[in-house]
Structure formats: structure tokens, C-alpha cells
Amino acid sequence: MTSDVFEPGIQSGRLSPAEYQAQFSDLHPPLDRHEALVAADRCYFCHDAPCITACPTDIDIPLFIRQIATGTPDAAAKTILSQNIMGGMCARVCPTETLCEQACVREKAEGKPVLIGQLQRFATDHLQAQGVHPFVRAASTGKTVAVVGAGPAGLSCAHRLAMLGHDVVIHDARPKPGGLNEYGIAAYKTPGGFAQAEVDWLMQIGGISFRHESALGRGLTLETLKAEYDAVFLGVGLGGVNALGAEGEDKQGVSDAVDFIAGLRQASDLAALPIGRDVVVIGGGMTAVDAAVQARLLGALNVTLVYRRGRDRMNASVFEQDLAASKGVRIVTHAVPVAVHGNGAVREIEFEYVDDAMKGTGQMLKLPADQVFKAIGQTLEGEGMPELDGRKIRVDGTGRTSVAGIWAGGDCASGGDDLTVTAVAEGRDAAMDIHMALTK
């Protein structure tokens, strides 16, 4: 530890180069071949396995694990990828502890599930390291589909459509494809440029082209898309960020967690990234945890995550909460921000404790802060969207919106959790429905 960690204010270079390297290495180092065989041997090959039911993409988990166990990891990868084309990323970022691994009968039996996520990574990495793309594009249908958003939903939809013989044009607001895979997930979950490598690998199917920095409201309208393409899929995610509603939240040093994470993901030199000494993150979801943990990893001395409800209500899984605690993040619950204090720049942030019904108690908490990250949820952005269901685009089970010819999926669409794996499933299912509609 250098003395730089005690420097107040938002500073870069708090750690040594070696420390940055170590802090942002792989959260779960990949299994080697022997470890994978040992882990695979623990699978019972359950009948109608509960892990399959728990997977939003319905991957045949017992089958792919048996394929690993019998020395055919590439066949395992194909089993995975045929259901979930982003099986590699999902293996890294899925909250398996609340999905497949929670359902694993060995979790019930011993409290130790089969390492499904890590086995999935073993198989998909094995295939993708060879640059092999196991799917073949069908003969061209002559149809062209616009996909808006190059995140997990859009890419999944595009790949499936391309595989079925349609041409796909993906429009995305960012300079690089990947969506939250590229800009939104904690760096230690997907190091080594994996997000881009996965997109490059996925693109080998052919028939997909990108239009970068092309977004609805920025030269694109749903009307023109509808007119120019045979179908439209919206996978635009949630581009807006909710406001705190606390006095003084415009002070210097207060920013959105999603921007902090995106900046970190795109940084070529972590030492150049400034971070506060006393950081406060407000929110209780994955984004809040990702921001808080990475603030610590960048060398922030004190990081406090403040959530307005109890831990059991946090969207971040218990695993994520424990990860944050293990990295030295303090978690404060039942507190809502009321004021950001400071002269121009934030100096401290004041909270009021609330009960389970969110009623103020009159008890206050002041935390020193030179940097505050807001992670209290994202919102759908854009004018002229199809009909909404609450704050998201209303879709039916196959991703159809209120407008004929427009489908939607991923975080921007109603239903399902805001997870990468859910987005992939919704993109895939919408593609199948688009295909039905275009070829009937």
C-alpha cells in the first residue's frame, strides 16, 4: 500500500502498477482440464434436470457436462451455444448462485453445487480459443432485419436471424458493439478483452453488419426503420439514469455509476483513472456492487454502499453482497440520501434512516465523501416507442410489441430479470418469431 491511498479528493495512481494488475485479474480463474474433469464428475445427470429449468436460455446442462466429462468439450460448447450464443459471457457474468447452481441437486444435498458456470466457461473457451464457429448460415431469405442495440439481446437476435438466412443490420449508439457486456460489467468478470472477442467470434456466422453511433433520436426513427427493413428488433437497453432527488446532487464528484463503470471498462491505463478516497455508492443492484467493488480495487480507502431497504431486498445476489464485503465495501441499509453537502465539490453526504415501509425515522447518518456514485436504476430513453408496460416496452412472450413489425427484448422490454442471460433468451426467441413472421 502506498501513502497515496490516504490522499483525500479524487486522485489517480493510488496504487502501484502491480497492484492494479492483481486487483483486476479474473474473479474466477478458468478451470484447467483436470479441474474441469473433477468438477464434471460431480454432475448426477439428473432426469429433466432442475438446472435446465432454472436457466433462462434452457441450456441442456447435464448433457454439456457429460460431454466435458467424456473428453469432448467442443461438443459441450455446441450444446451450450445452440441455446445461448453468448454462453461464454454468461458463464462469466451469470448470477449462477441464483439460477442453475441454486437449482443443482448437489446444492440441496451438500450445499456445494456443481460448478456449472465455470464448466460452461471451460467448454466455450475451449471452442472459441480455436476460432471455430460451429454454426452454418442457411441460404439467404432475401429479407433484412434492423436490430437496434448491439447488446446481448440485439446480438443474440442478430445471430439467430443471420443463421436462419436473413440479413441483419445492427444500429448501436456506441463506437463498439457489446452493449453492457462491453460498457457495463465489472472489469474483473470479463478481463482480457473477452467481450469484443466474443462479438468477433459471433460475427463469423456472416450476414450481419454494424452501423455504429447510430441510435434512435440520432438520425434514426422507428418510422424509417420500419419502412426500410422487413422487421425491427429493439434491444436498446435502459439508457437513462434515475435522479437521486436529494438536495445538492449536482455537486462536483457526484456522478452515475454506469458512466464510472463504462469509463473503467474503456480505460487503457487503470492508474490514470481518478478515484476518491471516501466513496459512497447509492443503490442495491449489480451496478451498485460493481461500482463499489471497483472503487475499492482502484484504491479508494473507504467505500460505503448505501441501500434504502434491507439486504434481502437488494437486487444484488448474496454472492455479490459477500464479494463486496470481502473486498472491504461497507454495506449500509435502510438509509435514503437527503442532501449532498460541500462547497462546489461534494464533502459529505447525509442520509436518513428509514424503516421497512420506507418511512423516515428522523435518525440521520453523515458519511464523508469526495466521490458519490448513483446506481438507483436505469430508465428507458427514446421518443415514439411502442406502447409501454410501466417503464418498459410492452412485449408478449415472443417479443412482439404493440406495433406490427417491431419486436423488443432485453432490459428495455417488459418481463424477465435484467440479466445478460435473460436478454440473450429474449433476443433469440424474438428472432425465431421474426423468422416465422417473415417466412410464413
Partner: protein, 434 residues
């Protein structure tokens, strides 16, 4: 603590755990280490006739099959008898025996099937002070092609003849080691008994190919692209060995001949099982080759603890205790009716019992929407497959139906009396029950 002292055909050892004639007992260095580790006796690796020793291959001698996490379940071996000079071995045997008078050293011998050959080597062995000899009539590879080993063991007349020579030219106990590569193990055992053998030991190794290399198309272990059937041993062969042991123990012609049990003994429990089937002691090889000599400590403590828990004070107390319960199929009680029962508290809902029963058996397990698995008594034939495939010990059990109850599968009342196939009405050659 139970007394593990064993008297096997007059040879006393502090415990019933001997090392089998095999690579671990090929020389003084190993045998001394084995005795220091606590083994009760060793059967010295097989000696051949005076003269240039045999040569072994210079590539792999062993092949293996594995369970989970590369747990070695079966080993095969193409090593021959000792490839060291006869007199070197004899000198070492003499030295070690002098230093360990309380441990058994048995000398395994394999020489050509000629009286002169045996007459020549037996006095040399006698001179070492070893406690007895074991005739290697079992080695399935290499030596059998030269008319020795299994080539003798597969011809009962040869066994009897050679055993007789040994009893004639050697004063101490003679053990005949039997090959399992034969249809009926009772025949060679009877021949050994007829020849005057003091005991039989079994099983020797089983002809085997452990695997085929799918790149080179060579069996493993591969010697320059070719393989030869080797002798299979290890945990995987234990069921075969126990069946053969039990056949000798219960056949009227061979009953009573002392047996040294060999074949996959890996833990104290395996040893106890062999002893209940009539063995006076056991011989171990693969377990020692897998884990080293130290495993004998677990065997000693485990057997002793189990004997204490059962009130046995010596090996003799339970030797052969299971033999009366080994019977022929036609003697099994067809009036005994059981049903599988699933303990819902232990069940982890993997559904393996369902898959096994539904796909390959009697459709006697029901699966509910919430993955509760239950037995349909009206279909269950008590085949035990669900018990065998269930990953949770004691989760599924076979429960006997009480006499007087009605079996919902057949609609018949469970009878209290014993009745077997020999009297069953479906048996065309049934005899009326008396």
C-alpha cells in the same frame, strides 16, 4: 482391541494382511519397508529356474481404468516373474526372514512343468527359512506362452501333479495360486487339494485390455504400437474374486481347504468380506501399488474396530460366516416380497431413479410436478436398480412386505413360509413340496 493374529496353515502372522506376489515384493528393499509399515506377511515375487532371468518389456507395463477424479479402479499388468537372478533373490529372502521372524515370507515359484525343475529349486527355497511356497499357476501373460503359469493352472491334472512334486520335495506348506481365466474354479481347486496342497490362493489376474488408444489403434499399455492382454486386478475384480472364493468354500469337494483371498482388497472392509466367505487371510497388491505400504494401517485399525463392535476376538470368530448364505438361485425364497421405499427427507430430487425405472425397468416410480418421486407399489418388482443408481446412501431402501399383506402388483397375499423355484408351479420340472 481385537487380536488380529492369524494362524494360516500353521503360519502365524500378527495380522491377516499379506502382500501378494507382485512388483511390491520383488526385492529386499521393498519387503523390509513393507514389514516396517506393518504388513503381516509377503509372498515374494515369483522365482524362476536357475539361469538367465526373464526379461521384461522396456515400455509401459501397466494400464488402468479410472473412476471419478482418476481414482484407480482397475490395473492391468504385463510384467513377468522376477527378472533378477535366482540366487540374489534367495539370499535376500534368507536375510529378511532372519530379521523378521514374526512375519511370514512365502516364496512364489514358477518353473517348467517338469519334475526335475521343481526338484532343483525346492531345496534352494527350503534353505532360505521361508515359511512356505506358493505355486504360481495363474500368471496369464508371457509365462503361459512358455507352458507355465496359467497354462498349468488351466489343466487340473498338471496342478495335481506339480503340487504332489512340491509336497514330495519340500517340507513346509504349499499354497496353490489359482487363475480365474477358467470356466469353473472348483476344478483346479479340487486338483490342488488332491495333490496335497495345504491351501489355495485366488484369484490371480484376469486377461484384460484396459483401453485402446483411438489415435494409434494400439491397446494399452502400448509397447511401440502393440499391446498384449495383461493381468487385470484392483477394486474392479473384487466381485469376481469373491464369487470364486465362495464357490470353493461351499462346494462339497473343495470345502474346508484353507483359502488366501486375493482380488481387489483395498480396505479393511474388503478384507472382512473375503474372510466371511471363508478366507483365512488376504493378499493385497493394487491398493499398495496405488497408495503405498502405509494403507495397511487403515486395514489394521478398521478390521480391529469392526471386530470390537461385533464382539469378535479373533479372525476365526467370523471366518466363513457368510458361506452358508451363499446358495444357488433355485434355493432363493420366492415368497420374499420387497418394495422400494424412498425417504423423502433424504431425496435430493435428482430423478435418476425415475429415469432408470421409467426407461429401463418397470415404470414403478412416479414423478410429480414439483419433482417428488414416489414408488408405485403396484408396479414395483423390487429389482433394486433405483437403489443402485441413487446418489444418496440409504435414501431408497428395499422394504420386505409382512406375511399376510397383499402385494398390490400381483394381488396375492404374502406367504409366511419359504418356497423356491424347485417347487414353483411354473417350473415344468417342479417337485411337489413335501
Amino acid at each position: 482391541m481385537a487380536d488380529l493374529t492369524t494362524d494360516f496353515i500353521g503360519i502365524k502372522t500378527p495380522n491377516p494382511f499379506w502382500l501378494a506376489s507382485a512388483p511390491p515384493t520383488d526385492k529386499e528393499y521393498n519387503v523390509r519397508r513393507a514389514f516396517e509399515a506393518g504388513w503381516g506377511g509377503v509372498v515374494w515375487k515369483t522365482l524362476g529356474s536357475e539361469g538367465p532371468p526373464v526379461v521384461n518389456v522396456n515400455g509401459p507395463r501397466y494400464g488402468a481404468i479410472y473412476g471419478a477424479d482418476r481414482r484407480l479402479l482397475g490395473l492391468n499388468n504385463i510384467e513377468l516373474i522376477t527378472d533378477r537372478d535366482l540366487f540374489t533373490n534367495l539370499e535376500e529372502i534368507k536375510r529378511v526372514k532372519a530379521d523378521y521372524p514374526d512375519r511370514a515370507i512365502i516364496v512364489s515359484i514358477m518353473v517348467p512343468c517338469e519334475e526335475e525343475a521343481w526338484k532343483a529349486i525346492l531345496p534352494l527355497v527350503e534353505d532360505t527359512g521361508a515359511d512356505g511356497i506358493e505355486l504360481n499357476f495363474g500368471c496369464p501373460h508371457g509365462m503361459s506362452e512358455r507352458g507355465m503359469g496359467a497354462a498349468v493352472g488351466q489343466v487340473p491334472e498338471y496342478i495335481e501333479m506339480v503340487t504332489r512334486w512340491c509336497k514330495q520335495y519340500y517340507s513346509k506348506p504349499v499354497i496353490v495360486k489359482l487363475t480365474p481365466n477358467i470356466t469353473d474354479i472348483r476344478k483346479p481347486a479340487a486338483a490342488a487339494k488332491a495333490g496335497g496342497a495345504d491351501a489355495v490362493s485366488l484369484i490371480n489376474t484376469i486377461n484384460s485390455i484396459t483401453s485402446v488408444n483411438l489415435d494409434t489403434m494400439s491397446p494399452e499399455p502400448s509397447i511401440d504400437g502393440k499391446g498384449s492382454h495383461g493381468g487385470y486386478c484392483g477394486p474392479a475384480v473384487k466381485p469376481i474374486a469373491m464369487s470364486m472364493v465362495s464357490e470353493i468354500a461351499r462346494d462339497p469337494e473343495t470345502r474346508g481347504i484353507p483359502i488366501s483371498g486375493i482380488g481387489g482388497v483395498t480396505t479393511w472392509r474388503d478384507a472382512a468380506e473375503f474372510i466371511t466367505l471363508g478366507c483365512g487371510n488376504v493378499q493385497v497388491c493394487t491398493a499398495a501399488m496405488t497408495y503405498g505400504f502405509k494403507i495397511v494401517q487403515e486395514m489394521i485399525s478398521g478390521l480391529s474396530d469392526w471386530m470390537d463392535s461385533k464382539g469378535h476376538t479373533s479372525i476365526e470368530d467370523f471366518k466363513g460366516a457368510a458361506v452358508p448364505n451363499v446358495t444357488d438361485w433355485n434355493q432363493l425364497n420366492l415368497n420374499y416380497i420387497a418394495k422400494a421405499k424412498i425417504d423423502q427427507d433424504l431425496c435430493i430430487s435428482c430423478g435418476r431413479c425415475f429415469a432408470a425405472c421409467e426407461d429401463t425397468s418397470h415404470q414403478a416410480i412416479a414423478m410429480s410436478e414439483n419433482r417428488t418421486f414416489s414408488v408405485i407399489d403396484a408396479e414395483c418388482v423390487a429389482c433394486n436398480l433405483c437403489v443402485n443408481v441413487c446418489p444418496v446412501e440409504n435414501c431408497i431402501t428395499m422394504e420386505a412386505m409382512a406375511p399376510g399383506a397383499t402385494d398390490p402388483r400381483t394381488g396375492k397375499v404374502v406367504q409366511p413360509d419359504y418356497a423356491n423355484w424347485t417347487t414353483h408351479p411354473n417350473n415344468p420340472s417342479a417337485t411337489a413340496a413335501e
